[in-house]
């Protein structure tokens, strides 16, 4: 047979299905009629002949199906019919269908959305060299001198680049307004190390990072589009960054980012050995691309060698010792390491939820299939084959899963941005993930797998327990079916307990975290980040101090404003500005033993604006002028640690190199949270902003306390700033409350999601228990009727049902507690002062789930108890 005839036949058959169908019917009818006539001729009566003819022909239904199979379209056609049948079935039981579709849809949707995030961040290749690129030690504490030394001394690396990050106002061409540009100053070999070339123009030339080089900049594709409309002649244009003129020399490819998507330009970092910064404090991150043939063993050797070289050349303080804790972090881990763990935790939680939803759907389908044994038995008797019925069940669950996938895809599409926005993704990564076709493909593949998996149980039941169908009425419910039901419920309950206990652990952590004393009062405080251009705009422009003073005077005069102040770094939001401090007269704390402190600047009213108390001595005052006596304040922990048995007041300290003049400690400041809500707060040194020896030109944070609406305060401050100095950009604005919330956001968001998943798991678990118990009750109505007719009290029947229904729940809850303890290692990193095997959480979780189970079992049980015996017996 030629393949062609075969396919044309099949196509004709499939397309002309209806006519073929009627032709077969006609053919069969003709046959039976001829046979009947023959039998009549042989002497049978009309009726008898007809009956005999039908008997001889056999089951027309079956023959029709066999004929259909013979056309080679049987499957395709049957699937269409099955799908229609499935839809009809679903419509007939709307409650069941909606429940199953919704639970599966939610599970699939959540999994899909999270998968898209995980794929975008953890699986998709980075937009630069993915292999063999590592960040040296802990980033952003390398000095220029160390960098040059390491680069010259390294053997195993092709390129070692140094970079940092800055935010400065950008002005393009004649445009008056400046916008804040976050960019990366980097050594000229950065793009070589990353293995990426610009799509337009060129990258940095060697030597462009040395003193005397032209100022050039490479911009991101996005910035090129936004600021230059994608114009080809952007190369050679002049822009002003931080008051300095730069020439645009290149545009990076679309989708490229480094180190994170929020940085939109790269310029050479000028390394000048004559600049005090070169050998001053460390601020650079080092990233190296090792040679191709270098293995892990060679890298370890190289690490040891570099460490030794550094130890020979430099002396380190204990806090900054680079000869210790040397490590190379693969770039992906460095950039996304903090994102990975919470994402994987959520992914795990969502997977659990999906499994619960599947168990639920499987239990529902199993219950329904058993419910339909009569229907199935009739169909089998009419000639449907077992595989045929199995196919029907599979089709039904696939139809259900497909609808769920559509629901899930919709959930994912609608909720994706919200999900991304509320995930703990910092630094612009939210924009780097998107819901692509892969995500939807995942949804459908997932649904298909779920559909097949869910159908497996009832199909196995059907294929194995052929006799069950006939014995149904005697036994009520097959033993195997019952056991499978109980297993599904127990599994569901177990997973629900795991999710709920995880959620309650996080909830308890967050309660602990919430009760942390920040040491400051965030109420009614607005924060505004100002960034000043470094270059001199004009001769009569105010100095930074004059400018800050002028801003404060005008802001404090506003109605509704109580206080205002400036600082260099906002508490619990900003890190940095940390270094070694010299203590006068303390040889034991000199050299390598120098303590590490935070270095924070403030204007006189700053501490009062945030409600931070001065515990001893005085605060910063207006008389602490740049040309006055140098003063400092220390935190309580600073005073306690350095001068345990004496007063800190009058002691002298200095921050920075050896030539930095001493400052007299004039006050002790209340201990406050400075870096994060949960970690240790380092010792803190406060100085007057007016006495900041360097760096205030880069920018400062204005805090304003008042009763006015934050938005109107921000607008007013904006116009005041623009009025005073056009070269100052407003980098970001917000409230101190939101700063605190952001500091708490990761545990809060995780708590939110796990809480949500836990609640869903609980709901699904309860639905499952309810479904199975009420199903069993319906099945055993007659039995209950007899029991009550024989004198059993309704309460006893109720107890019987509840205890029967609760058995798998209790087993599941117990297993859940055990697995929670076993899995506790996974959540340890997300907890704060709560043990991962915290008994309160475990007891609460299993208690809540058990309670949900009891409630779910009580409803149908109560119905069973209220059944009138007569009615129950009649219903069979």
């Amino acid at each position: 047979m030629s393949r062609f005839t075969d396919w044309t036949f099949r196509m004709r058959a499939l397309l002309g299905r209806r006519s073929l169908e009627s032709q077969v019917d006609q053919e069969f009818a003709f046959h039976v009629q001829m046979e009947a006539e023959k039998l009549q001729r042989e002497g049978l009566s009309v009726d008898a002949a007809e009956a005999e003819a039908h008997r001889r022909f056999g089951s027309e239904t079956r023959e029709r199906e066999r004929a259909r199979d013979a056309w080679g379209v049987g499957l395709g056609y049957a699937l269409i019919a099955d799908a229609r049948h499935a839809l009809r079935q679903m419509r007939r039981r709307p409650g069941f269908s909606v429940l199953a579709v919704l639970t599966l849809g939610l599970g699939i949707g959540a999994t899909t959305a999270l998968f898209a995030v995980v794929y975008g961040l953890l699986v998709r290749p980075l937009p630069f060299r993915n292999e063999g690129l590592s960040v040296f030690w802990s980033a952003h504490n390398w000095r220029g001198s160390e960098y040059d030394y390491v680069r010259e001394g390294s053997i195993a690396f092709d390129h070692i680049a140094a970079y940092s990050s800055l935010a400065e106002p950008l002005r393009t061409g004649s445009s008056e307004a400046s916008r804040l540009l976050e960019y990366v100053p980097a050594t000229a070999n950065l793009f070589d190390a990353l293995g990426v070339k610009p799509v337009l123009g060129r990258g940095f030339a060697p030597g462009e990072d040395r003193p005397g080089a032209e100022r050039v900049v490479v911009i991101s594709h996005g910035l090129w589009q936004e600021e230059f409309g994608g114009a080809e002649d952007v190369i050679g244009r002049r822009v002003t960054i931080g008051g300095q003129p730069y020439t645009v020399i290149g545009v990076m490819p679309r989708g490229f980012y480094f180190p994170t998507p929020e940085f939109r330009a790269w310029r050479p970092l000028i390394l000048d050995p004559n600049d005090p910064v070169y050998a001053g404090s460390g601020w650079l991150a080092l990233i190296g691309a090792h040679k191709e043939n270098v293995g892990q063993a060679e890298l370890t050797q190289e690490l040891a060698r570099i460490t030794r070289l550094l130890g020979e050349r430099f002396t380190y303080t204990a806090a900054w010792d680079k000869t210790k804790n040397a490590s190379m972090t693969p770039v992906r881990e460095y950039l996304l390491g903090n994102v990975r763990d919470p994402l994987l935790l959520l992914m795990g939680a969502v997977a659990l939820l999906l499994v619960i939803a599947c168990a639920n759907a499987a239990a529902l389908i199993l219950a329904r299939t058993t419910d339909r044994t009569t229907e199935l038995a009739v169909r089998l008797a009419l000639g449907a084959s077992h595989p045929r019925i199995a196919r029907q069940i599979v089709t039904e669950s696939i139809v259900m899963a497909t609808i769920s996938a559509i629901v899930g895809a919709t959930v994912a599409a609608v909720g994706f941005r919200t999900l991304v926005a509320s995930l703990p993704l910092q630094r612009g990564f939210g924009g780097a993930v998107s819901l692509g076709w892969q995500a939807f493909a995942t949804a459908f593949v997932l649904a298909l797998a779920v559909g097949l998996g869910v159908a497996a149980a009832p199909v196995r039941q059907l294929m194995r327990g052929r006799l069950d169908i006939r014995e149904r009425s005697e036994e009520g419910l097959g033993r195997g079916t019952r056991r499978m039901h109980s297993g599904l419920i127990a599994a569901q309950v177990m997973l629900a307990v795991m999710l709920v206990s995880g959620a309650s652990l996080l909830i308890r952590s967050v309660e602990r975290i919430r009760s942390i004393e920040t040491g400051f009062d965030a109420t009614g405080v607005v924060t505004i980040d100002l960034v000043r251009e470094a270059g001199v705009v004009s001769a009569d422009a105010p100095s930074p101090n004059q400018f800050y003073q002028a801003v404060l005077e005008r802001v404090e005069a506003l109605p509704g404003v109580t206080r205002a102040g400036f600082t260099n770094r906002l508490p619990v939001r900003d890190g940095g500005w940390q270094g070694s401090v010299n203590i006068e007269g303390r040889a034991d704390l000199g050299g390598a033993q120098r303590p590490s402190t935070l270095y924070r600047a403030a204007t006189p009213d700053y501490l009062a604006t945030l409600g931070i108390q001065v515990r001893a001595g005085r605060g910063i005052e207006a008389t602490d002028r740049a040309d006055g006596a140098l003063v400092a304040l220390v935190s309580e922990s600073f005073a306690r640690k350095i001068w345990p048995n004496e007063s800190a007041i009058g002691k002298r300290v200095s921050f920075g190199g050896a030539q930095v003049p001493w400052r007299t400690v004039v006050g002790v400041v209340e201990e406050t949270r400075m870096i994060s809500m949960m970690g240790e707060t380092p010792l803190t040194l406060w100085i007057p902003l007016s006495q900041m020896p360097w760096g205030t030109s880069a920018g400062a944070v204005l805090v304003v306390k008042g009763t006015a609406d934050p938005a109107s305060t921000i607008t007013t401050v904006r116009s005041i700033v623009a009025d005073l100095d056009r070269g100052v950009a407003i980098a970001r604005t917000g409230t101190m409350k939101s700063v605190v919330n952001v500091a708490l956001s990761e545990p809060l968001q995780l708590r939110f999601f796990l809480g949500l998943f836990g609640a869903l798991a609980l709901l699904l678990g309860a639905v499952g228990v309810y479904g199975v118990v009420s199903y069993a009750v319906t099945r055993r109505r007659a039995e209950f009727g007899i029991r009550m007719a024989l004198g059993a009290a309704p309460g006893r029947v109720l107890g019987l049902v509840v205890s029967g229904g609760m058995m798998p729940v209790v087993i599941g809850a117990f297993a859940g507690v055990l697995s929670s303890i076993a899995m506790s290692r996974l959540v340890r990193g997300f907890l704060y002062e709560v043990s991962p095997t915290d008994s309160v959480s475990l007891v609460a979780a299993s208690g809540i789930v058990l309670l949900a189970g009891v409630v779910a079992a009580l409803v149908p049980a109560w119905r069973a108890g209220s059944v009138s015996p007569v009615e129950a017996l009649r219903s069979e």
Partner: protein, 110 residues
């Protein structure tokens, strides 16, 4: 469905149908009748399952069907053999002869 010893041996139904159709085109019932008649009632075709075979053989391209009118003026679907069908018949009957000869040999010697 009743299953008697006179049912057509599995696998030979195709051959018998082809053989019947090799003489003239016939409808399903007619094929049954002819097999029964020619074999003097020794063979009986399971009537319903005949059609699955007919449809399968149509797909194979050994036979084709058309709607025609019977002697007493009824609409019926007739099947006729194709060139490929004759080829197939030849192959099958040769195989059958070999098989039958083999079986006969064993039966006669024992």
């Amino acid at each position: 469905m009743s299953s008697t010893s006179s049912d057509v041996i599995r696998g030979t139904l195709d051959m018998l149908i082809l053989k019947v159709l090799a003489n003239e085109a016939e409808h399903g019932w007619g094929i049954c009748e002819r097999i029964q008649l020619v074999s003097r009632d020794a063979l009986r075709v399971q009537q319903g399952s005949l059609y699955a075979s007919l449809h399968r053989m149509t797909r194979e391209g050994w036979i084709r069907s058309y709607w025609g009118v019977t002697a007493n003026n009824r609409q019926a679907r007739y099947y006729e053999i194709t060139r490929a069908g004759r080829q197939q018949l030849k192959v099958e009957s040769e195989e059958w002869s070999r098989l039958a000869a083999g079986v006969a040999l064993i039966m006669s010697t024992t």
